[in-house]
């Protein structure tokens, strides 16, 4: 594997291998000295064209825990801000001979373009509404840890599917791992033709009780201005996941950041069935595993992690 651009490029075996590697790194993260020398002397560039807290910080930590040198560039205050094109920025950064470029962009296909312009390995940290493959991997990691496997798990993804790259990557990843996926949300926020990805689509929460996992998406305030939903109040009324709608055996997930009281009720967020904290924690180990997979390769990492 040279780049991580889309979940589509990963076989189930690829995903399992990355998650296995992540298990070893999760162990490292529990130590007092959370560092292994796997990427010593190599450079990882984080190039973020969008605001991000958990993805950018976890990529930075992941690279540092692998002993890489890390450069993080945000669009604000950089040459990007001065109108430099993506191509010129990438070619400039490539002059530093980075081993990997991690890119977050508001535009679909940006990571794929970057991969064509640099000899570095490219990791897609979110491209427009297209994909967010490391989020899907960390979600699969979190679920596999809790359930043992995803085979035959019934997973519902609820909310603004239309604008969600997390939904697109997770539909693909969960299904590849053997789960069944249903997407659910207001008709205005379910993209026409999404069933072509192999999932079911519905606008009704009937059947949610059958789900093993309820994965809730962030509902953004600006969706009201575009008349996707008449009001957040009405959205919450119809689609908020709360203790009344959730049964105690179900697992609850959310990619963050949460709008408390909109897509999730406070008591649901704070309930023991919520895996939201586990997801964040998994982010570092899984991103370490992705960097390791792309930059070091598949040799057993017991030696490195030990």
């Amino acid at each position: 594997m040279r780049h991580l651009i889309s979940i589509e490029d990963l076989s189930r075996a690829d995903i399992e291998r990355i998650l296995d590697t992540a298990e070893s790194f999760a162990e490292v993260s529990g130590r007092e000295i959370k560092k292994v020398p796997a990427l010593r002397g190599r450079t990882v560039v984080n190039l973020f064209y969008e605001a991000s807290t958990r993805t950018s910080s976890s990529f930075e930590l992941a690279a540092k825990r692998l002993s890489a040198d890390v450069v993080s560039i945000r669009s604000v205050g950089s040459s990007i801000d001065k109108g430099e094109s993506l191509k010129d920025t990438v070619q400039t950064l490539s002059a530093y001979d980075p081993a990997a470029i991690v890119i977050r962009s508001p535009h679909a296909g940006a990571a794929k373009l970057v991969a064509a312009w640099t000899p570095a390995a490219v990791i897609n940290a979110g491209d427009g509404k297209h994909e967010h493959p490391t989020q899907a991997l960390l979600d699969a990691f979190t679920l596999r840890r809790r359930l043992g496997k995803l085979d035959d798990a019934n997973i519902w993804i609820v909310g603004d599917v239309l604008h969600s790259r997390v939904a697109r990557s997770n539909i693909l990843a969960f299904q590849r791992m053997g789960a069944t996926v249903t997407v659910c949300g207001p008709p205005t926020l379910i993209p026409r033709g999404i069933e072509a990805l192999g999932c079911a689509a519905t606008s009704s929460l009937d059947g949610l009780q059958e789900a093993d996992v309820v994965y809730v998406l962030r509902m953004q305030h600006e969706r009201m201005q575009d008349a996707y939903v008449p009001s957040l109040r009405e959205y919450a009324e119809r689609y908020q996941i709360n203790s009344a709608r959730l049964n105690p055996e179900q697992l609850l997930m959310h990619p963050g950041p949460v709008n408390r009281g909109v897509e999730l009720s406070a008591e649901a967020i704070d309930s023991p069935q919520a895996l939201i904290g586990d997801q964040v924690k998994a982010g570092v180990a899984v991103r370490m595993a992705v960097l390791y997979e792309l930059l070091v390769g598949s040799p057993p990492l017991a030696a490195v992690a030990a």
């Binding site: 993506l86 535009h107 999404i194």
Partner: protein, 452 residues
């Protein structure tokens, strides 16, 4: 410099050609020629049609051996963007008409969405002057319907027609207001000239960048539903019928649009339609690559839409082929799909793409494609190229068997944003005669001629 009365196509002067095209398979559906002939062209006009091998080369003239090749009436493209004035870094009158000639076109009609917009007789007058100096094949011009393409104030349509405009369009944008369009249709009775419409309801297309369907859902790209086009065609066909106006619908892309056009024609509206080679041969499946060359407006749609466009062209619901040749500089396309400019160049690949993808596999008759490739002329009141004695020489010689990789040797266009780039196509243009002069000669022939 303004046009003399009635003159609607402009081109730099050329030496009239003296030539015999020997033993080519002449196919002109309008004159019902379909077989091997010699053609004598004297003083830029077709002087004689003879049996194969019968006509000697003229004195001081050339003999072009077209054995095994086809000779068609020259193509006419009613929809190109020559980007002049103001965006000459994408294309200019010289490079755009060189691309046209390389594709077998003997005339093109340029769109007015330039910078400044062709919304004023002075702008048009200067363009006409430049075309007389720079254009390698005759160019006709449309002026805009509304000032600055703003959609709210009519241009001086009658004065623009007097200055040489063949018709009017806000191409690139729809005329959103039915009220403004109605005024333009009424005013057409005074100005003359076809009103050509780019149909798109912005309330439905919004910020869309591709066809709305399973692939846009997969990619997370904002979709443009087919209805954004077809509902506007239905609306404007009704207006055209009511005002008895002459309306042409540009670059149809959707099955529903073909249906709307068929209904309008049945109802008696004076409406016509065009379709591009890319909409006839490519679908939104290609957008999966997120390659910005496939970002066009209207968008590439789904396979049932493509089938409906082919059927519409075959049945005559769609009157002609237009390339919507839309050059963009590399930096405008070498960006993520959502940010990329919309459009593909098409003049140099139009015939070969249609021949390779539709004629060779048996989907469309060669004669039908040849006829539709110049169908746009009559729609705009221009003479249709014909292969017959006394006609001015507007013809193209093509080797259907000769294959080439699109773009492998570069393009005559200044831009390289070609949706067919890299494809292996059959049907190489070898010689184009436009308005009685040699407009294009395939490079190998030029080299052979200069070596002699």
């Amino acid at each position: 410099m303004t046009a003399t009365s009635g003159e609607k196509l402009f081109c730099r002067e050329r030496r009239p050609v003296e030539l015999v095209v020997r033993n080519g398979h002449v196919l002109d559906p309008r004159t019902e020629l379909d077989g091997p002939h010699d053609l004598l062209i004297r003083d830029g006009h077709i002087a004689e049609l003879g049996s194969p091998g019968s006509l000697p080369a003229p004195e001081d003239g050339e003999l072009f051996d077209a054995t095994g090749m086809h000779v068609f009436p020259g193509f006419v493209d009613p929809h190109v963007h020559l980007r002049t004035p103001g965006q000459e870094y994408k294309e200019d009158l010289g490079s755009g008409t060189a691309a046209a000639a390389a594709g077998g076109f003997c005339a093109v009609i340029a769109m007015p969405n330039t910078d400044p917009v062709v919304d004023d007789p002075a702008v048009l007058g200067s363009l006409v002057g430049r075309a007389r100096r720079e254009a390698g094949v005759p160019v006709g011009f449309l002026a805009s319907i509304t000032r600055s393409l703003g959609g709210d104030e009519l241009t001086e349509m009658a004065a623009l027609a007097d200055a040489g405009a063949l018709g009017f369009t806000d191409d690139g944008k729809p005329v959103v207001s039915a009220g403004i369009l109605r005024r333009a249709l009424q005013y057409q009775a005074l100005s003359g000239g076809v009103i050509a419409l780019h149909e798109e309801d912005p309330a439905l297309s919004r910020a869309g960048v591709m066809h709305e369907g399973p692939i846009s859902a997969r990619l997370g790209l904002a979709g443009i539903p087919s209805l954004s086009e077809s509902t506007m065609i239905a609306r404007d066909a009704a207006l055209a019928l009511y005002e008895d106006a002459r309306v042409h619908f540009q670059h149809l892309s959707a099955r529903e649009s073909v249906q709307a056009l068929a209904q309008a024609k049945q109802g008696g509206a004076r409406v016509t339609g065009e379709v591009t080679p890319h909409h006839l041969t490519l679908t939104d499946d290609l957008v999966r690559t997120l390659d910005s060359r496939f970002k066009v407006n209207p968008p590439l749609r789904a396979e049932p839409d493509r089938r409906a466009l082919i059927d519409g062209l075959r049945s005559g619901v769609i009157d002609c082929i237009a390339t919507d040749h839309a050059p963009h500089a590399r930096h405008e396309k070498e960006v993520p799909f959502e940010q990329a400019a919309m459009g593909t160049i098409g003049l140099e690949t139009a015939f070969a793409a249609l021949y390779t993808e539709l004629v060779a596999p048996g989907e469309l008759e060669l004669a039908l494609v040849v006829e539709r490739m110049s169908g746009g002329a009559a729609l705009y009141g221009l003479p249709t190229p014909r292969i017959a004695p006394d006609e001015i020489a507007n013809l193209v010689v093509i080797d259907l068997d000769r294959a080439f990789e699109a773009g492998a040797q570069g393009y005559a266009s200044k831009s390289e944003n070609c949706a067919f780039g890299g494809r292996r196509l059959h049907g190489r243009v070898l010689l184009t005669l436009a308005a009685g002069g040699v407009a294009f000669r395939e490079r190998m022939l030029v080299e052979a001629a200069s070596a002699r």
